[in-house]
């Protein structure tokens, strides 16, 4: 085993006072929209628009929301693959927002990304062995033989045949390719993983295998996950806590049981009501949200959800509700939290 410095993992660090592994403060990530002949900036896509988030050591934080709400962008901003427009990201006590390239490179050993697309995320011209081993090479770790052993090691850990290392990605199935991506992320033995919709591109029959693998690896390698998904059922299965995003903002964050049993934000309620129920006859009432997500180029005034909210009132258009603690361990950004209930 490698001697990657890693403080002892604290299982379920939900208690107050423990320092979070990742801390996000007031992060905005905007993308300029250019137009006209002079390519002048004509607007800003506010993909992430003021997010505060703590990810505790050893927990899995689920991040859900509709497509386009900025959840993937937030994940990439935390890894500094996309530079934040403003705000601060702290990883293990170090502010990585303005870290110089050499220090950032060293930091990358401890934080990794698992991709949604198991085809596009693997270089088709490299063998699996080289894909997985590249990280070791990039960080100047280990001799050729050691690298080889480590790659075989991690391939076995993710359930791949170590003898298949000489093959190319196209020779593998979707689920196996996702395992290659997971092996690549884990070979440096990082402490923190952003999983960007790791199963949404897979067949349903494969999804549970990969999910169980991720849960299993978390235990084995003492990992902390930020688990991005749009499927609440998947997130509920793996997460300790869940954050719900809407149009660049976190609207509700709570432990996964509270989210499931007692959602307070009307958007969360609507999302939950959209989960298909396995019990015949016991159908809950579905809350269908009208219209599309408003453009992140020009978000609505006040509460961003008000244009589609079933319980919106005039005050929602004027005052933006802050993310406030409404119950122990549960924060909600809504003036009328809890008023919309799930009809069981």
């Amino acid at each position: 085993m490698t001697a990657v410095d890693q403080s002892a993992p604290q299982p379920r660090a939900a208690e107050e006072g423990a320092a979070p592994l990742v801390s996000v403060r007031g992060v905005h990530t905007h993308f300029p929209v250019r137009g006209g002949v002079l390519r002048r900036t004509v607007g800003q896509v506010r993909a992430v628009d003021g997010v505060d988030l703590d990810i505790m050591r050893g927990e899995t934080l689920g991040l859900v929301g509709e497509s386009g709400c900025g959840k993937s962008t937030l994940g990439r901003t935390i890894l500094r693959l996309i530079p934040p427009t403003s705000g601060q990201i702290t990883f293990d006590g170090t502010d990585i927002t303005g870290l110089r390239p050499e220090r950032m490179k060293a930091m990358r050993r401890h934080m990794q990304l698992i991709f949604q697309d198991p085809v596009g995320s693997l270089n088709p011209r490299m063998t699996v062995r080289n894909i997985i081993g590249e990280a070791l090479l990039a960080h100047g770790l280990h001799s050729r033989q050691e690298r080889h052993d480590q790659v075989r090691d991690i391939m076995r850990s993710v359930g791949l045949d170590p003898d298949a290392g000489g093959r190319y990605p196209h020779e593998f199935s979707g689920g196996q390719r996702q395992r290659i991506g997971i092996a690549r992320a884990l070979v440096l033995r990082p402490g923190f993983i952003v999983a960007d919709e790791p199963v949404s591109a897979l067949d349903v029959s494969i999804q549970s295998q990969v999910l169980n693998l991720l849960v299993d690896l978390k235990r084995r390698f003492a990992l902390t996950y930020l688990f991005v998904a749009h499927d609440l059922a998947v997130v509920d299965y793996v997460s300790d806590r869940v954050a719900v995003m809407y149009l660049g903002k976190v609207v509700e964050i709570a432990d996964s049981v509270s989210i499931r049993e007692r959602p307070l934000h009307p958007y969360t309620v609507a999302l939950l009501s959209a989960i298909p129920q396995p019990r015949p006859g016991g159908a809950r009432q579905r809350i269908v949200l009208a219209g599309d997500v408003p453009s992140p180029l020009a978000p609505p005034s006040g509460c961003r959800f008000r244009t589609r909210c079933p319980i919106a009132r005039p005050v929602c258009a004027e005052l933006e509700p802050p993310l406030e603690s409404k119950a122990p361990g549960q924060s909600v950004a809504c003036h009328f939290s809890g008023e919309l209930e799930v009809a069981a």
Binding site: R108, Q112, F115, E134, A135, A138, E171, G181, L188
Partner: protein, 314 residues
């Protein structure tokens, strides 16, 4: 035809053996024809000089004014030219120059064009701007005119001819690679490499460039045909390889006054040039079909295969 159906190994990973590129090219109708033609040219270059050796006329420069402008005969299969040189010997010896100029120019064009295009597409910004405006300037001149001007400046000769043709054609490789790099650099695997802490330079050389070269491989044979045409054109104008050297374009130019009295002296080198260009174009066509599956249509399936799939459907 019996297909051996080896029992599939119970491996966790199914491994369809990738067909060798050459075999796929041979299966494709037009590239097969191109390859056969090319093989003919290569055979002439390699074996030809040995076959025509032996007699005093086997020297392409051997002149015998007493035997000038003779028709085909047993001693001179394709007759002689205005200086009494054996036409067949000159054509056989000339093959090497034409192919050498073509390959030399394209290799040089690729060596200049690919790195420039890669830098341009990968780093974008001012690097891109600088390179692209430079390419715009080069492309503003008609291809042939530029080569002509370059030879006029550099002076005639084999090496200068290669340089001139390469400089006139490399911008196309720059554009091609740049476009390809622009799309590949956005692929998730380049982001994955960055997330691992791989340096930008390594991302370019190891991840982006290898995945951007397919269009170049397809374009190269087509450019070969065009390079040969340009070089022959320069030769025809007397700006190519120096006079006594039996380069086909030069031979055409030397004989142009005799087009009515001895048309065969223009016909033979002309056919040789035509064949060479045709060979490379056919090969390029086949390569595009074989290497780019998106362009492969059902019609292109070999007849035998089509019949087979039809039977299987019944």
């Amino acid at each position: 035809m019996t297909e051996s159906t080896a029992p599939l190994a119970p491996l966790p990973v199914a491994a369809p053996r990738r067909d060798h590129l050459l075999r796929r090219l041979l299966r494709h109708r037009s590239s097969r024809l191109g390859l056969i033609l090319l093989a003919g040219y290569v055979a002439v270059i390699v074996v030809g000089p040995l076959l025509v050796a032996g007699s005093p006329t086997s020297d392409p420069h051997y002149q015998n004014l007493g035997e000038s402008l003779q028709g085909p005969s047993a001693s001179h299969w394709l007759g002689t030219d205005q200086l009494g040189r054996d036409e067949l010997v000159r054509l056989v010896i000339g093959a090497r120059y034409t192919i050498l100029i073509g390959i030399g120019a394209v290799v040089a064009g690729v060596l200049i064009g690919v790195p420039l295009g890669a830098l341009s597409g990968f780093y974008r910004g001012w690097v891109d701007l600088l390179i692209q405006r430079f390419i715009d300037i080069v492309l503003a001149f008609p291809h042939f005119l530029l080569a002509l001007a370059l030879v006029a400046v550099l002076g005639p000769g084999l090496r200068n001819l290669i340089i001139a043709v390469a400089l006139a054609s490399f911008p196309r490789f720059v554009r091609l690679v740049r476009a390809s790099v622009l799309s590949v650099r956005e692929q998730p695997f380049t982001e994955a490499a960055r997330a691992l802490g791989v340096s930008e330079r390594r991302v370019l050389w190891r991840h982006v460039l290898p995945n951007s070269l397919t269009p170049v491989i397809v374009q190269a044979p087509l450019e070969l045909g065009s390079a040969i045409l340009t070089a022959s054109g320069l030769g025809f104008l007397g700006l190519g390889v120096r006079q006594p050297t039996p380069e086909w374009g030069t031979m055409l130019g030397e004989s142009r006054d005799l087009i009515f009295s001895n048309p065969r002296l223009l016909t033979y080198p002309g056919l040789c040039i035509l064949g060479a260009i045709l060979a490379f174009n056919l090969l390029g066509d086949g390569m595009r079909d074989v290497l780019d599956p998106r362009l492969r249509s059902r019609k292109r399936l070999p007849r035998r295969l089509r019949r087979l799939s039809g039977k299987a459907g019944r």
